[in-house]
């Protein structure tokens, strides 16, 4: 393996005027019922971070999968270093130095971190024996670079999602790749890990690697990228120099209009308390949590990953047994035995992990949406398809879901659109108390503000909403009050009017 020579700054500047490292021309890809890519062209230069932007379902992941040999395009060409190449399988892509860090985790849970990182190219001794020494040394070397807190021999299935994402990223660093594609790498990373990732990207850049970066987070795009290409409906809408444009310009290209940032209406007078939690505790996951939600109110819950927010939500939803404290709904103490009971009490939880907890991937969009309210859409056990369709139509519309048809299995939707189905499924319940856990993970900026508006509107209709989020702008944008969690305890409560970013950061860091 020859390392790519380091370039001086001048050389790098010069590179921009050279032939691109990678060029995709006229790529078209259709799935049954969808033209996911329509004559897309795109190029990446040495040492460049090229951001790929677009709404959910615009075709970003598909384009990168074509590049990485996962999908075969209907037509189009790929040039690497000016040479036309065929990429018919992931293996071929790898051999040509093209690495894709997938949007969806693709790890083998039973294997160790090191084995996952070197999957497909484990170092060997004689007789096909794994050389554990070299494997772990090499893996540790990469992990040190990423500054992670787990060991190379830990079982991947035991890691948190964020850490699994780090393993996925570590994979990209095994060989000196020519092109690395990051597909929404930060969707489940914390700030600390993000910093590490950006360092890694900077390092790759210095080595002359071409980088494609997909994200829905504008701040990241503008921090990292040199150029931005916007996809819309499977077509290229344009490529811009990052320093020549701004968020608004890109957004307009992406969704055809500017974002209405003033979506936040004045909060109506909140109604009576719908949910009250007193001294709720569960093992060492969280202790002594007390708060209340009023009808018509949106409360944000903010904290670091592992602060216990999800567990609190799960406990309220009856998925965990509490070992102390009390939950009241509309003033009456309740003992919720499980989700069916919770739903009966008017509590809904849109979970954070869409694939594991949110969706039946093989089931179509409509049926997924109505799954949380089967009793409501059936009479005497008989399904009322009209009622189901009505729910689907309403929330597909309100969330601008992009699906070929209601019959499409959610497996075939883009990541962001899958998340929309999860939301639609729980918004449709019209609960008294709605808990949404990381509601906009992987959702494009346009839809994100629509979802925020929708949450506000639901509150205005008299629902009490708890929004769990790791994104400060989101919490700030939607909440009337904010609960800051630190290490399983309620650190502070803020009113939206007098919260500052600094105070919030301090509160969740235990300061």
């Amino acid at each position: 393996m020859s390392r790519v020579a380091h370039h001086t700054a001048e050389e790098l500047a010069d590179l921009k005027h050279r032939a691109p490292l990678l060029r995709l021309d006229g790529v078209t890809k259709t799935f049954p019922g969808v033209k996911a890519l329509d004559d897309v062209s795109f190029d990446v230069r040495h040492g460049e971070v090229h951001a790929l932007l677009g709404e959910n379902g615009a075709g970003k992941s598909t384009l990168m999968k074509v590049l990485a040999g996962v999908h075969r395009a209907n037509s189009g060409t790929i040039h690497l270093n000016g040479e036309p190449v065929e990429v018919n399988s992931p293996l071929e892509a790898k051999a040509r130095g093209i690495v894709l860090v997938h949007q969806e985790l693709s790890l083998a849970p039973e294997l160790s971190v090191a084995e996952n990182i070197f999957l497909g190219s484990l170092p060997t001794k004689r007789f096909g024996l794994v050389s554990w020494k070299r494997l772990n040394a090499a893996a540790t070397h990469i992990l040190d670079r990423l500054g992670v807190k787990f060991e190379s021999y830990d079982r991947v299935g035991d890691l948190s999602i964020a850490n699994q994402q780090m393993v996925e990223i570590a994979r990209a660093l095994v060989f000196t790749p020519k092109v690395v594609v990051f597909d929404e790498p930060t969707a489940s990373l914390t700030d600390a890990e993000k910093v590490v990732l950006f360092d890694v990207i900077a390092g790759l850049k210095k080595e002359g690697t071409g980088i494609v970066y997909i994200s829905h987070r504008m701040d990241e795009i503008f921090t990292l990228s040199d150029r931005i290409t916007v996809l819309r409906d499977g077509q290229t809408r344009g490529t811009l120099n990052t320093r020549d444009t701004d968020e608004d310009g890109v957004t307009r290209l992406m969704i055809g209009r500017s974002l209405d940032k003033s979506a936040r209406k004045a909060a109506p007078e909140p109604g009576p308390v719908a949910l009250e939690v007193k001294g709720l505790s569960c093992g060492d996951l969280f202790r002594d949590i007390s708060f209340s939600l009023r009808r018509g109110e949106v409360v944000g819950m903010y904290g670091l990953v592992g602060a216990g927010r999800t567990e609190i939500a799960e406990t309220i939803f009856g998925l965990r047994a509490k070992d102390g404290g009390e939950i009241r709904i509309d003033g009456a103490p309740v003992d919720i035995s499980g989700p069916p009971d919770a739903i009966r009490h008017g509590v809904a939880l849109a979970p954070e992990s869409r694939k594991e907890q949110g969706l039946v991937l093989g089931m179509n969009c409509r049926d997924n949406m109505s799954l949380s309210q089967l009793d409501a859409v059936s009479r005497g056990g008989w399904l009322d398809r009209g009622a189901e369709q009505a729910i689907y139509d309403e929330y597909a519309g309100r969330l601008s879901l992009k699906a070929p048809s209601w019959r499409t299995p959610v497996r075939n939707l883009s990541g962001g659109n899958q998340q929309k189905v999860v939301l639609g499924k729980w918004l449709g319940v019209k609960p008294r108390v709605l808990i949404v856990d990381e509601p906009t993970r992987g959702i494009d900026v346009g839809s994100k503000s629509e979802i925020h508006a929708l949450i506000r509107r639901l509150a205005a209709e008299g629902i009490a909403v708890l929004v769990i989020s790791s994104e400060m702008p989101e919490v700030l944008a939607v909440s009337d009050r904010i609960l800051a969690l630190y290490h399983g305890r309620l650190a502070r409560e803020f009113a939206a009017a007098d919260v500052t970013e600094d105070a919030l950061v301090q509160a969740i860091s235990g300061l």
């Binding site: 990485a68 996962v70 992931p90 293996l91 790898k94 051999a95 894709l100 997938h102 693709s106 790890l107 083998a108 849970p109 039973e110 294997l111 160790s112 090191a114 084995e115 996952n116 999957l119 497909g120 190219s121 484990l122 060997t124 007789f127 096909g128 024996l129 794994v130 554990w132 020494k133 494997l135 772990n136 040394a137 540790t140 060991e151 190379s152 021999y153 079982r155 994979r171 569960c282 093992g283 996951l285 799960e314 009856g318 998925l319 965990r320 047994a321 070992d323 499980g338």
Partner: protein, 320 residues
Amino acid sequence: MADTLASLRRYMVIPPIWLFLLACVAFFSVLTDDFLAPGNFTNILIQTSTIGIIALGMTVVMINGNIDLSVGAVVALAASLSVGLQDQLGTLPAVVVGLGSGVALGLLNGMIVWKTGVDAFIVTLGAMIGVRGLVFIYTGEQSFFAMDFAYSDFGMSTIAGLPTLAAIFLVFAAIMHWVMTATVHGRNAYAVGGNREAAEHAGVRVGRHMVINFMLVGFCAALAGVTLSTQMGASTPNLGRDYELWTITAVVLGGTKLAGGAGSILGTLGGVLTIGVLRNGMNLMQVPAFYVLVVMGVILIAVLFIDARVNRRGAGELRL
């Protein structure tokens, strides 16, 4: 070195089935006199060696997310060939042909699963029926008998006090344990079963990998057929019926997931021995034939039940 140890340690974890095995051994030792006799243990080892050898290969195939229902028929085919061809070819070449037939059928199964994408369950179910047909075509319904009594004497011989067949089983188990924990191929089996797409994207040649595993289980089944026929000095066309179900049961009891991605040879060994000990113990206790069936069924379920209680996760688990 420390790293190597640490990374190896988790592959040496004792699977829970061994606890039940111990419990069963204790139970029968108390309730029957003959159970603890050394001759009895070698008996159990011989009796479990057939299913056991197949189970070793089945474990690998199941870890990588497939299944092989044709093993019982392959047992019959390999036994028939290795006994039936002795007159023409001589003993050793006949055995080689028998073993080869298993590998060849494994290759066929594997290639079909790989190239057509048809589920292994269907492919090997077809083979389970069809290979039995091959056996009947070859044997013309007849049983074969090894004129060479050395053949059956081999099945009864011992090495250093250990019956040869038991020794073959244990040595083979050790080899397979090593393959699954220390070789690239073994580790890839977990990757392919745990997340096939991921393995494919990472450049594991999934198709070839699966074919090799099918050949391996085919070889194991054929080897079991050969050892079984040395026990009998003969072969019968109906040999190995139902073996697929008992093999899979032993493997699953040992902790291998039906869906793939997890499992171990050690666990399988425990599963195989548990079933063997149960059968043997009930024989010694002279449980009447009809009741053996009931007791066997109930114990299988009880093992699972206790296992689930013992392994119940703590407070971290969701109430689903």
